[in-house]
Each structure stands twice: as C-alpha cells, then as structure tokens.
C-alpha cells in the first residue's frame, strides 16, 4: 500500500524539479512497472517511495508519500526496511559485506530476525535465486549479474511486503533476466509480494505487470493504468508494441504469443528480405587461442576471434562467461598467458596502451570511472588531445547530440545520460577499432536507436566494432556477426541472422513473432511487409 500524492521534489541546488506533482497508487500485492526515457525521474520516484528522498538527499519536498500508512517525512528509510525492499540501480555499490551469505543476512540481522529463522530464510532465497553454489564466495569475485542476484536475494530474505527495484535486469543476460522476472512474478502471485519496478527494456517486463506508469519528457507521469492502455500513448514502447501501433493492431499485444496470433493474418504478405552481406575489409582484430587466468581461475580457455574492418561483432553469453575479460585482453589491459592478439596492426603485449589508444577505443563496463572533468565538453577535448587531434569538442558534441549538456558536470547527469557522454568521450578522435562493454545499460529506446544508427554509420566508414551486450534488440539492430561465449570459450559464431534466427531464447521479439531469420527489427518487419510507414 504505497501512496504518492502530488509529490513535487527538487534536488538541492537543482534549477528544475526532478518530480513535478507526481501521483501514484500501488495497491497491496500489485506489480507496477515504471517506465520513461532516461533522466525523466524514474529513479527519483523510487527513492521517494523508500524514503531516501528527502531523508538522504535533502532538497525541496512538497506533497506526501505514505507507505502502509507511514508518512515518509516522519519515518526514515530504516524504519520502512521491514515493509519495503529496495534494490538500487547499481548492485556493485550496494553490497555492504564481502561474502554472499553475510550479505544476504545483513538486512535480517538489522531487523533482529531470530537466528534460526534467518538460517531457514537464507536457504530459501539461495534456492529461489539460484545462488547456492556461490554462497561461500566473496562478492568481489562475482560477475555483474551474479551480484545483482545477490542484491535481490538480500532484500528478499527480509520478507518485505513490497519490493522496489531500479532496473534489476540491466546487467543480466536474457535468460537470467527472464528467470529473475519470473521469480518476481511468482513471488508476486504466490505470496502477494508487491513489486514496483523501473525498467528500460520493456519487452522483458510488460507482460508481468498489472499496471504501468509512464513519465513523459516533462517529468509528469502522464498516466498510470492498465499496461495496454498506457502503452497506447507511451513515448517508450517495446518493439512488438511499436509494430502493433504502426499496423494499427488492437488490442495491443504484450507477449510474443499474442503477437504471433495477430501476425498470423498478415504472415502471407511477409516476404523474406534479401541478405545483404556487409562489405568487409582486412582483418583488424586477430586473437589466436587466447588464454587468460584471473585469481587462479582460467577465465578464457583458448579463444579464437577474427574481426574485419566494416564488421560489427556482438559478443553475447551468460553472466560470467568471459566476455568482458576477452575485451580487456584485446586492448592489452590483461596479459594472456597463452595465445596471441593482434589489433589494429599491433600486438598489445608489445605496445604501450597509450599508443594503442590512437586506433582503439574502449568503453569499460563502469562508464563513470572514466569521467572526471568539470564539463562534458572538457571530457571530449581530453580524449581528442590524447589522440593528438584538434581539441575542439563542438563537432563531437553535435554528432552525439550532447550540445545541451556541454557545460554540465558529467557526474550530475542521470545514469543513461552519463553513459552517452562516456561513449562520446571514448569515441572522439576517429579510432579504427571500437570496443564497447555493455553500451546500453540503463539506456532508453531513443538512446539505443541512436547508438544503433551510429554503429551502422561506423560500419560504413570501415571501422571494426565489438560490443559486449545482453541486449538482444541492440544486437538485432546493429550487429553483423554474433559470437556466443560460454565458460571462457566461443561456442558458436556466425552471421547475425543465422544465430538469432536459430536460437529460441536468444532472439529478438520480431524474429520470434514472424519466425523469419531475415526479420530482426521493427524496420525489417515493416520493410518485409511492404509497409514503409
């Protein structure tokens, strides 16, 4: 029972309010999805629900938020801890202690749960989230997705009445994301656990939610109502709904099954698209049986990989399969103990990273870690100078649509906006090879389309791009080839249509709906239907 009543809130020293007269009701045991573009106030709303706004941030707060009849102005977040479980955006920074088990019992210990009950609940959540094999591990050794599961387990163990989650699947591979959302949905149905969830990748969640609240650009939730109603006018929609709106389908389909039923009628009109092989140049990345060990465990077990100029390769695979490690080995941040790497005509093992950087751009998984200047334009100039180019940032700012943020400090931007700045900052100065680790984490559909367009353009310019991602839709939009990794090896590698078309789980919504390997995106589908609208 959460009630947000005409909440208007500004962060301290902010010119504009982050939330303006925002109202939302969540009934006991309801599953509510909060959506909207980056920087529209989703995270702020969730923080207001758990009481961190205003207790932690200060600022101007008008209106009322009550949680199970407790007014958050009078009850600090710790007094709401047995009612609400909050999982913030960034699971890395939420862990308090170092071991999985200790982290999970942390909330229960604070709440004074008796030792025996604690033990029982620990075992339950370890099973519910598939963590029992990791129980003794140190959090520092877990992959991003595993840490996200630990973060959720730790709040779940305290048995709150409602979970408040800020993009809980942003770091998970499609299967784990599905599992997690399935778990949430099961808890929601079986135990009446309420769920309030903010998410960008709507295709994963719309069918689980009872209701949906969408922020439009002006920071006002335009509507909260049944999912189908809201999606009719929502500025952010999953691919399937996007297609349905274009084709005027009614009611809007939420799941692939509903989509297939509606698509059956127009399926005969669909012709397969001619396969256009991308024009590729010479190999620019060549990795031969690369082996990397970290902390006594072998992470890469002999990876062979060739990427040519004009190719966009998507590295996919479950959490902890070694994708990020491979990327780091390619740029020379990790020394392989076997095999060899050639990138942009050099060997990273024999080249200083600074020299390699003239030709190679690398975006790490934590984009914040590279931003340190006072303004966005200074960030761009920094890279341009480093690559010995003209340090005038304006062209880049224009190209990446960041002109509006030019003078803002990058750290004050929202997570999605910061990511865009970081991408622009590593790409300034025309590198020939671009390596991106999770470039769409917390990014809205607009930002993603933008990135996909840019990736296509780079491909035309003959650059080679490698993206590590869990985002199937991005892969469908932008990649030419896909390599699937598991247990430190590349299991399969091939053309994007071939890989996505042949996988029942790892494929895009459009591909699942039409079951046609050449149709991966909404644009493909419209083209294949001869419907260019």
């Amino acid at each position: 029972m959460i009630n947000v009543d005409r909440l208007t809130y500004s962060y301290p020293a902010a010119d504009a309010p982050a939330l303006r007269s925002c109202s939302l009701d969540v009934a006991d045991g309801e599953f509510v999805l909060v959506a909207g573009a980056s920087g529209t106030g989703k995270s702020t709303l969730l923080r207001a629900i758990v009481g961190l706004v205003p207790h932690f941030h200060g600022g101007r707060f008008a209106g009322r938020v009550t949680v199970f009849d407790r007014d958050t102005r009078h009850h600090p977040p710790r007094e709401l801890a047995e009612l609400l479980g909050f999982v913030p955006q960034d699971p890395e920074s939420q862990s308090v202690v170092d071991r999985v088990e200790d982290e999970i019992v942390f909330t229960m210990e604070n709440l004074g749960v008796p030792s025996i009950t604690m033990r029982k609940r620990l075992e339950e959540v370890l099973d519910a989230l598939g963590l029992s094999a990791l129980r003794e591990r140190s959090l520092a050794t877990l992959s991003g997705g595993e840490r996200q599961r630990v973060a959720i387990a730790s709040v779940l163990a305290a048995q709150p009445r409602c979970l408040v989650l800020d993009e809980p699947t942003s770091q998970l591979d499609p299967l784990s994301a599905e599992e997690l959302l399935g778990t949430l949905s099961r808890l929601n149905h079986d135990l009446g656990l309420g769920v309030v969830l903010a998410e960008h990748r709507l295709e994963r969640v719309v069918h689980f939610a009872d209701r949906m609240a969408v922020f439009d650009g002006d920071r006002i939730p335009i509507s909260s109502g049944s999912v189908r109603e809201v999606l009719r006018a929502s500025p952010v929609v999953p691919p399937l709904v996007h297609l349905a709106r274009k084709l005027g389908w009614d009611p809007l389909p939420l799941t692939v099954r509903e989509g297939r039923e509606l698509a059956a009628k127009i399926r005969p009109r669909l012709r397969s698209l001619p396969h256009v092989a991308p024009t590729v140049g010479d190999p620019i990345i060549e990795a031969k049986s690369v082996r990397v060990a970290l902390g006594g465990r072998e992470i890469l077990r002999g990876v062979d990989l060739t990427v040519r100029e004009g190719e966009t390769l998507a590295l996919v695979g479950r959490n902890g399969s070694g994708k990020s490690t491979l990327l780091r080995a390619l740029v020379g941040l990790l020394r392989p103990h076997g095999g060899s790497v050639r990138i942009a005509g050099r060997r990273p093992s024999e080249t200083a990273i600074e020299d390699l950087a003239r030709e190679v751009a690398y975006l790490p998984q934590t984009p914040e870690s590279i931003l340190f200047r006072d303004s966005v334009s200074q960030e761009i100039s920094f890279t341009l100078r480093g690559r010995a180019r003209d340090p005038d940032p304006n062209a880049i700012l224009e190209e990446f649509g960041l002109a509006a943020f030019a003078d803002k400090p990058p750290r004050d931007l929202s997570a999605g906006e910061r990511l865009r700045v970081a991408i622009a900052a590593v790409l300034a100065g025309d590198p020939r090879v671009v390596l991106l680790d999770e470039p769409t984490r917390g990014m809205d559909y607009g930002g993603k389309d933008d990135l996909a367009q840019r990736l296509k353009r780079w491909r035309g310019e003959g650059r080679a791009v490698v993206i590590v991602t869990h985002d199937v839709e991005l892969v469908a939009q932008a990649a030419t080839r896909v390599a699937l990794m598991a247990e430190g090896e590349i299991v399969i590698e091939g053309d994007v249509h071939e890989i996505l078309g042949s996988s029942p789980l790892f494929s895009s919504q459009m591909n699942k709906v039409f079951d046609e390997p050449s149709v991966l995106t909404v644009d493909d589908a419209l083209l294949a239907l001869g419907n260019s609208a």
């Binding site: 909050f86 913030p88 308090v96 604070n110 604690m118 033990r119 598939g130 690398y362 790490p364 914040e368």
Partner: protein
C-alpha cells in the same frame, strides 16, 4: 555439508573463537619468549598454518603482505640503529664517520659498528615482524566479518563501520588501477604529477559516491534501527556510560595517587564499572540486531583451544621459572643464546592448527572412502535454479 566438504577434501577450518584463542596465545609466545631460537620456529609455524588454511580471495594474501612489511621494517631498523648506536664491545667493522651539527640533533652517523647493536635491533625488529605475522596469519585464515560477530551487540555497528572502512582501501586501489587504464585508453600517458588529476578525481569522486550509495543501501536495509520508544533509554544509557567512565577515572586516581584507604578507591572503581556494565547492557537491549550463527563448536575446536592455551601457559611458565632460557639480551657483550628444548616445543606448538587440520582432513577423507555413496554429487555448474 560436512560430507560435501569431505568429498572435496579441503582442510576444514576451526571455529572463529578457537582461532581467536590461538592468535592470542601466539602473540603471547612472541611477547614472552625472547630467546632468538623461537623466532624461526614461530615464522615457520605461522606460514604452515596460513598455508594450510588459505581461503580464496584477497585476504589470503594478508600473511605474506604483513610478513613483508615486518621484514622491511626490520631492515630499516637495523640500518638506522647500526648507523646511530655505538654501544657494545664487539666491533664488526668501522665505517667512515659523519658528525651532524647540533641543530640536526648532534648525531654521530657511521663509525664503529658493533655486533650487539646489530643483534639487538635485528631481534627487536623480528619480534615485531613475528607479531605482524601472527596478525597476518589470523587474517588469512579467518573471516573478519565472523570475528566481528563476536562483538557485543551495541559495538557491532561500530565494528561494521570499521570493516567497511578497511575494505574501502583495496577497493580504492582497484578503482585507481581501473581509472588509470581507462585514461590511458583515451590516449593519455599516466606519468608524473600532471597525471594525478585525471586519475585521482574519478577515484575520489567514485569513492565518495560509493560511500554515499553504501550509506543509503545500509539505511534502506535497516542499519541503525532502534526499538520503538528506545530513544530515551539510549540517551540515559549513554549518560550512564559517560558517568561510569568518569567514576572509574576518579576511582583509579584515588587508588594510584591518594593516601585514602584501598577499599575506598576500589569501591569507587567498582561502582564505575557497574554503571558502565549496566549502560552497555541497556544499549545492547535497544539494538534489535541479531546474528546468524553458522559455526558449530566441535571437539576439534576444543583441541585447538586447549593446545593454544597450553602453549601460552608453557610460555609464561618458562619465562617465570627459567628466565635465563626465555630471555636474551646481547649487552654488554654478544653471546650465543642458550638452547632449550622447551623453547623449541613452544615454537612448534604454534603450528597446532596445521597438524590438527591435517588429522581432521585425513579422518574425513577416510570416512569418505568408506562410504563413497554418501558423498553427494558435485553441484552443477553455477546455474540458475529452475
């Protein structure tokens, strides 16, 4: 769980409290037995223990790190003492001499180097190194968070803050390395003072950000909760604790400096201690914290605690009964330290956990062989429960 452990046959560890007894006894040995023969034995025993109970993760390196720090400290200490100290009768060699002017302390650097100064400074350095090694071995083999669980409730929160602060240091180093790499990949040579800014600012900013998110996360997860209506109890308890501390101070100054009868000082002290105890008890009651106890105290823990206790008692007894064998002082003239079997026994006894662990492992392995069907299959790879 035990069977699973046995099937992997890794050395089973001891209860944290047993480890605590062991480390206290080891420190006691280092402090009481000054005979140089004990030092190599202590280092050997500690490394055997740290080696056989090493856990995965960065903490397992604490032993090696602290030993290195101790050795470095010893070397520096010997060099400094040899250069500035000149007592003792056995001259090893004479080096060129430098007399510092009075405003620099009027020191004589170099000159006669004596064996006594070298031996004494080296032994003192190594004793400190041995102390650090005890600590390092303890940190390598135990989980610091489990040690914290042994604190009384009202101290647990403060203790947690301390561990977080400690954990922060390696995190910052890791963050600094990451940031440096990322900046190098933007084409900047990280070199010299000018490169500090690009690395330091994101590290500090992300460090601050991380502490804020961490504080938030602790807050929403109920850290620092008090029982309802306990604010007054807590305030009074704090006042009582302060009063108790003052009373103890007054009482002990009576005991030490005044001519008042002994019972007066003692009773003042006792009432202070009583007030403090009551205050702590009250403080513990307003904190609703509980602790998960997973560890079970087994017969093996009794054995370890017993061995460690005996070792400490042995060391004290030796110091009391046979000071000539337990102590060593090279002045005025250096001499070969006396050899005593007791010293050897005490030094070796520190490795008790390694022996007990090996014995226990052997027993578990035998049990495993006898009932192979009891051993569950190895868990499937890190997967998601369906």
């Amino acid at each position: 769980m035990t069977i699973l452990r046995a099937s992997k046959v890794e050395t089973p560890t001891f209860h944290t409290k047993a480890w605590l007894v062991w480390v206290v006894s080891s420190v006691a040995v280092v402090n009481t037995i000054e005979n140089p023969f004990v030092l190599p034995l202590v280092f050997g025993s500690l490394s055997a223990v740290a080696g056989s109970f090493a856990r995965p993760g960065p903490e397992s390196r604490s032993f090696a790190t602290l030993v290195k720090i101790g050795i470095t400290f010893t070397v520096i200490r010997v060099v400094l003492f040899v250069a500035t100290g000149h007592t003792g009768v056995t001259t090893l060699f004479t080096s060129p001499e430098l007399h510092l002017p009075r405003w620099l302390g009027d020191l004589r650097l170099g000159g006669r180097v004596t064996a006594e100064v070298a031996i004494q400074s080296c032994l003192e350095g190594l004793r400190l190194a041995a102390f650090l090694a005890c600590l390092g071995a303890f940190l390598s083999v135990t989980d610091i968070y489990r040690v914290l669980r042994l604190l009384p409730r009202f101290l647990a929160e403060a203790g947690l803050v301390v561990t977080i602060a400690l954990a922060f240091v390696p995190t910052m180093f890791r963050a600094a390395a990451e940031v440096r790499d990322a900046q190098r990949l933007r084409g900047h040579r990280v070199r010299g003072l000018r490169s500090i800014v690009p690395v330091a600012i994101p590290v500090l900013a992300s460090g601050l950000e991380r502490s804020v998110t961490l504080a938030e996360s602790m807050e929403v997860r109920g850290y620092g909760r008090r029982l309802e209506g306990s604010a007054r109890v807590e305030a009074w308890a704090r006042v009582a604790a302060l009063a108790g501390a003052i009373v103890i101070a007054v009482g002990s100054s009576f005991l030490l400096f005044s001519r008042a009868p002994l019972w007066m000082g003692a009773s003042i002290c006792a009432s202070g201690v009583g007030a403090l105890g009551l205050a702590f008890a009250a403080l513990s009651r307003v904190v609703p914290r509980t602790r998960m106890r997973r560890e079970r105290w087994s017969g093996w823990d009794w054995m370890l605690a017993g061995c460690a206790g005996m070792t400490a008692i042995g060391a004290f007894a030796m110091r009391g009964l046979n000071p000539a064998a337990a102590t060593y002082y090279p002045y005025p003239a250096a001499f070969w330290p006396p050899f005593h079997a007791g010293v050897v026994m005490i030094g070796v006894a520190i490795s008790a956990p390694a022996f007990l662990g090996a014995a226990r492992k052997g027993m578990l392995a035998r049990a495993d062989e006898r009932h192979p069907s009891m051993a569950p299959k190895a868990p499937d790879s890190v997967g998601v429960a369906r």
